[in-house]
Amino acid sequence: MATVTFDNATRQYPGNPVPSVDKLNIEIADGEFLVLVGPSGCGKSTSLRMLAGLEEVNGGRILIGDRDVTNLSPKDRDVAMVFQNYALYPHMTVADNMGFALKIAGVDKAEIRKRVEEAAKILDLTPYLDRKPKALSGGQRQRVAMGRAIVRSPQVFLMDEPLSNLDAKLRVQTRTQIASLQRRLGVTTVYVTHDQVEAMTMGDRVAVLKDGILQQCDSPRRMYDHPANVFVAGFIGSPAMNLMSVPVTEGGVDLHGHTVPIAREDLSGVGKDVTLGVRPEDLELSSDQSGIPVTVDVVEELGADAYIYGSTEQKLLEATGENAGAVPFIARVDGRRPPEKGEKIYLKPKVGHVHVFNSESGLRVGD
């Protein structure tokens, strides 16, 4: 087991004017589950492959433990790409299916048996070790495939969109399995996905990338509550955060007569406007006619809650990532008394639940 360090790691393809991964700095703790997430082309897979030794590193270093692996070949790095090859061999026993790669590596028989038995215990496969894969259920077969990576006991597991070819239900099921397995094994894991929900539910920490640049690396909770910039704010969370351009006033920002208080020192030097972000669940109906005016287009009733999707004269910023495209204003309201379609309502952010960003740089203002 080991830590992983990206130290100013850079990858620039020949002929490309900008690096695909630009001075990446992340320190991954021993046993940590780190998820790299971002829209397509953000450099997440490239970063993983740099760690795996599949992409050349043009600048900076990559360390596994204290060892500089920047120029080592993939097989000398002691990392395992999981789920890449999961064919099961019908004539071989489950134990042989799990352990055969160790045989190739020249590990002795007793050691192989020991590691296979340990892995089988973790995977609940012990009673099946001497059976053929045919006798297993689909879920058990899947676990045999995981077992093949586990018995290699690598220092780091690498997973590149391992769930992308599963349907929605299986994805959720397997997601949970992988996360709990990783915790039981305690092996440092780097996981790549484009799906922010997957990232938020699986990772100890999540690293958001965009255009080859690390935007933020934090725990899911911190990432959700304190997005470092407008991009992360719009990318993380579903439904997406509402982002709007609002004028700065004395003591805060103005929402059609409703002043959202913001510390004076935070607003010094931000200019005339800032970008205000409010998550759909952090809004409440206003009793007077101040706040954000919204005309309800769609009401999505989910029982206890309802989401309303509406239009507003407020200037909205386009969201990013999977939320990109249409930018309705979204709010969560009480499911028992939702407003009606076509109704005009006024919404105010709950106190202390707003995010303020510099409208020029996009960076978070204040805490």
Binding site: G53, P90, M92, V144
Partner: protein, 414 residues
């Protein structure tokens, strides 16, 4: 949703296939064989008119990606299966959405490795298969293709003048880059080593592997052969300025290996006493291209080499070295090659490809001559071959697979 079929060959019969049924449940009447092969996904062989198609059920975006990838590989002239189309928008009768289907054409006269191992094979077959796979891998890597799932199951083999030529079947995990890094190539080789050893160990466990063949040695031999070939094709050589003949020598060596050199970089050191050469662009198919140009025959690389040798022998025997090569080739085709391939009785044409039969007749003539102690005319060899050898061979035109279990590991949960 509406059914949407993308194909380069509009074929209305495609519409008659039962797209609203999960592939696993397709009726036998549409199938050319029972479900076979180890696969992550359900793959079935389907009859469509006179041809056989392989249909694979996978997620929509992966189907599109693999279809485009296979088309790119064909464009790059890499030996691979021919993509036929993608079917989207499938729903069951109840309106439940179904995964997309990727359709490829079955490669005629190709053999899955399991079929090869279930036949009685010469002991060196495993070695020849590994040779073919190493050549395929080198060709893919030269084009910048990272396979990601190199295995015998993802490869089909065609006989090639006693040896084999390998074809890529599954490009699902593949990626096309401008150039592969050494790490990417190493990774592919590592995957190859593990997968091939696993597949051979499985054959051994099933009692299909010759006893003396060691799965580890065999799979390691792919890597070794790959490196030898890769170094020969891309390695840098330096020599004294006076030894310029070595440039021609290098090109000749590459031609012998079946590659043409399209671009070669030559530099001298600062003092100007040494030359450094590195092949930059090499192209497989040296012999098959030459044969195609001379005769219009499109055959495997080794078959082409064999046929060209026979053409040379013909040129010498008829004393026409001074004649135009194309004209001699045309005569050889009409007087030697075609009479042999045409003499095969219709019911035996499905046994082997014509060029392979020609190769075998030449081999047969050699054995007959050796036994007789004198030259045997090709007509006699042909007659004997068609009556004694060919009928005993299995039909190989449409071998689809042997008895193995369908094993989708990831696409189906209980």
């Amino acid at each position: 949703m509406t059914l949407e079929i993308t194909t380069a060959r509009p074929e209305s019969a495609l519409l008659d296939l039962p797209w609203s049924t999960p592939l696993e449940e397709w009726p036998e009447s549409h199938l050319a064989a029972l479900p076979r092969g180890i696969s992550r996904h359900v793959v079935r062989f389907v009859k469509l008119g006179a041809r056989v198609l392989a249909v694979k059920e996978i997620k929509d975006d992966i189907a599109d990606r693999e279809y485009a990838m296979l088309r790119n590989l064909r464009r790059l002239d890499v030996p691979s299966v021919e993509p036929f189309g993608v079917v989207h928008g499938r729903t069951t009768a109840d309106g439940e959405p179904l995964d997309a289907c990727l359709i490829t054409r079955h490669l005629q006269f190709s053999l899955p490795y399991r079929a090869l191992y279930s036949q009685n094979l010469r002991p060196d077959t495993a070695v020849r298969l590994m040779d073919a796979l190493a050549v395929l891998l080198v060709r893919l890597h030269l084009e910048g293709f990272w396979w990601g799932d190199v295995s015998l199951s993802n490869t089909l083999f065609r006989r090639d003048a006693g040896a084999f030529a390998a074809y890529l079947v599954d490009a699902e995990t593949g990626e096309l880059h401008a150039r592969l890094s050494d790490g990417q190539r190493e990774h592919d080789l590592d995957i190859a080593r593990v997968n091939i050893a696993g597949e051979l160990m499985d054959l051994a466990a099933g009692g299909f592997l010759e006893e003396h063949a060691d799965p580890f040695e065999v799979s390691a031999s792919v890597i070794e052969r790959y490196h030898t070939l890769w170094d020969a094709l891309t390695g840098t050589e330096r020599f004294e300025l006076g030894d310029r003949w070595r440039v021609d020598e290098r090109i000749r060596r590459l031609n012998e290996l079946g590659f043409d050199v399209d671009e070669l970089s030559m530099t001298t050191d600062i003092g100007g006493t040494e030359i450094v050469i590195t092949p930059k662009v090499v192209d497989a198919g040296h012999h098959s291209r030459r044969l195609l140009r001379l005769t219009g025959l499109d055959v495997g690389e080794n078959q082409a080499r064999r046929l060209l040798n026979d053409l040379d022998a013909y040129t010498a025997a008829t004393d026409r070295q001074g004649d135009d090569e194309e004209i001699v080739a045309h005569d050889w085709l009409a007087k030697v090659y075609e009479p042999v391939t045409r003499a095969v009785p219709r019911e035996l044409t499905g046994r082997l490809e014509p060029a392979e039969i020609f190769h075998e007749v030449l081999e047969h003539r050699w054995y007959m001559s050796e036994r007789a102690g004198h030259d045997t005319p090709i007509e006699d060899a042909l007659r004997d071959y068609v009556t004694t050898v060919l009928p005993a061979k299995p039909e190989e035109k449409s071998v689809l697979g042997v008895d193995t279990e369908e094993m989708p590991v990831i696409s189906r949960f209980d």
